[in-house]
Symmetry: C2
DNA sequence: TCCGGCATCCACCTTTTGATTGATGCCGGT
DNA sequence: ACCGGCATCAATCAAAAGGTGGATGCCGGA
């Protein structure tokens, strides 16, 4: 399915939607679901993050439905940041399959107005789009819960470097290999790991990987 | 979106399709994409694996498009097995987001006729459905490649017990904890691990977890 | 300006893991 | 009946990882 432009004249009060997802089936599904709403107007759908950034610049777009994982290089979160950085930018509603902390935080930091899971029922989807169009934030219940948990917990946020080290641990590297890869001494790697263990409440590298994966701090 | 039955009379030579996916958006998308083909007739779509098994028993279903991961308890692979076990059963085309070895093998063992990724372009999808209707197997190129690799490689299949041990390792347990959990001595756990490392071509527990995860041998 | 978090490093010691070798019993297929 | 794979256990040694207790320099906010 190639990007498609609507040829019908937009109704005056319609909310203009841009769909960005690399799955043709999902684009078609969103289009089918959203077009049943009389006040929605899907003005275009695009298969890449780059095209989304480009197309979102046009004034007929009020809300962008953005996938987070594209097959290509640019991430949905980067595209979101690029779109929301402009003045008078449309609101971005992130719509993704996964609900890992890392993804959610990246999207919110990038300026997303809402965050929904793809398994959301159509009514929830429509409600979120209307909320986004009005500039109100909309979070899926699952996501909201997760964020609550996160706030409640003493925030086990890892520093940039710690995350980097832990990711390499998850990739199966030894401390020696990690130290070479990051141009550090093994002492430093160990030191980072000690801090990571403390923050995650574990006492071994495998347990740290399990905990971080469960909390979405690193990619699997 | 609730399950929907078509009210139009089926065209004589049409291929009857049953869509099974827990995402409303995906069901709508598949419906939209497949209904553009004149020789396809979507006779129903269902949101659960259980309903898929039930509905597939009706004679108007020629091909079932089956998701592998449902929110609920029954797995797509189990539903596939249940459907294909019956005489005169429709062909099942597995359609999923992921391409892990474990998923693929489970689907093939369950009797799936084909295996496609959800990001497949509509033409590929239609071609696969026609192939499935004719009883011919259809694999996405990515999947086919992966299977080739798997055949070529010395088959790193782990035994039941080994998989069990490795899963606990991935959950972050120490050898001592694993031995208690499985009522083994630590010596046995170590022995299993040695075999696992050899099969996976690695030399540490974290690397084994990384390798097994990459090959879909254990659940993340 | 001072403090705290971050990132970097060192030394010493303990515990866990991995490598090697070898042994037993069970089960399924030829 | 035999062989091979699997699961089970043991002992020993070497290597890697974890625990403790430091130290330094940088940077940004109170």
């Amino acid at each position: 399915m190639t990007p498609r432009e609507s040829t019908t004249a937009p109704a005056p009060a319609a909310i203009g939607l841009l769909l960005a997802d690399d799955h043709p089936v999902v684009r078609a599904g969103l289009r089918a679901v959203l077009e049943t709403e009389p006040d929605f107007e899907v003005v275009a759908d695009v298969p890449t993050a780059e095209e989304a950034v480009e197309r979102a610049a046009r004034p007929d777009v009020d809300v962008v439905l953005m996938d987070l994982q594209f097959g290509g290089r640019m991430l949905g979160s980067q595209a979101t940041a690029a779109i929301t950085a402009r003045a008078g930018a449309p609101h971005v509603l992130v719509l993704t399959t996964f609900d890992t902390d890392a993804d959610i935080l990246a999207a919110i930091e990038a300026g997303a107005t809402g965050y929904l899971l793809k398994d959301a029922p159509p009514e929830e989807l429509a409600a979120a789009v209307r909320a986004a169009a009005a500039g109100k934030s909309a979070l899926a219940p699952t996501i909201a819960l997760r964020l609550m948990d996160r706030m409640r917990a003493p925030a086990a946020a890892l520093s940039r470097r710690e995350t980097e080290v832990l990711q390499l641990v998850a990739d199966g590297l030894s401390n020696a290999a990690i130290s070479k890869q990051l141009f550090l001494s093994q002492a430093t790697v160990k030191s980072h790991l000690v801090h990571i263990y403390a923050k995650l409440g574990v006492d071994s590298r495998t347990a740290a990987v399990a905990a971080a994966t469960a909390r979405g701090l690193i990619r699997r």
